[in-house]
């Protein structure tokens, strides 16, 4: 199978809608088929990685726990937009997983390295 490097971009808050879970499931499927995948979190999307999300309180499953299993799928490129993090008063150590925090220029450069971008 021809490999295309994928950027899956998360822009929306968790629990608000199905979008984050949809993006995550696509990323895991791509990785299963050995397509290179990187995850990008920007805007309210950075909240997807916030610790202590309890979906059950909102009548939803805490699907965000599955972000912790990215390692098992060999997904290790996880990028978070620095200005979005500060917009939501979050720091790297308040996130569920280890990420690379990028400033705007580095973000654009990193995104440009990928063939395909799908936004959720």
């Amino acid at each position: 199978m021809i490999q295309h490097s994928h950027a899956i971009i998360f822009k929306q808050a968790p629990l608000q809608n199905q979008s984050g879970q949809d993006g995550l499931e696509l990323a895991l499927t791509l990785a299963t088929f050995e397509q290179p995948v990187a995850l990008f979190f920007t805007g309210a999307g950075v909240l997807q990685l916030s610790r202590n999300i309890q979906g059950e309180l909102a009548g939803r499953k805490t699907y965000t726990d599955a972000f912790k299993s990215l390692e098992l799928y060999d997904i290790d490129q996880i990028y978070v937009c620095e200005s979005s993090l500060s917009e939501f008063a979050l720091s790297g150590d308040q996130l569920t997983i280890e990420v690379d925090i990028l400033d705007n220029q580095a973000w654009r450069d990193k995104l440009a390295e990928h063939d395909r971008a799908l936004t959720f």
């Binding site: 199978m1 199905q18 499931e25 696509l26 936004t119």
Partner: protein
Amino acid sequence: MSQFIIFITANADSQDSFNAYQLAKSLLEQNSEQLKTVFFYGNAVHIANQLRTPPSDEFDLTAAWQSLAEDYKVKLIICSAAAQRRGVLNKSEAQYHGHSQYNLATGFHIGGLAEYVTLQADCDKVVQF
């Protein structure tokens, strides 16, 4: 010629959903070989609900996709997990889940993310709406 695949996550009622159809139509009219698959994911799967019944003086996007699938060889694939969650099921799925009715519009096929991942590998361009 580039090989395209259209990936739709936009809600069936949104303008993006219509834009996706317009791109598909113009690609097929230009050269029907350049678009073989349209994949519907997330809220886009509502388009495959046979029971969508817009007022008669409004554009029927479900019917429009069905005509495209009939006129060209393009395959319209609906993500099964996204569709079941939103109540769009074919006959065998409906029976499996103990429902007495089903509503997948003809011309649409139930598929999975794995199918999308396999098909996109051979395409030059992915366009998301």
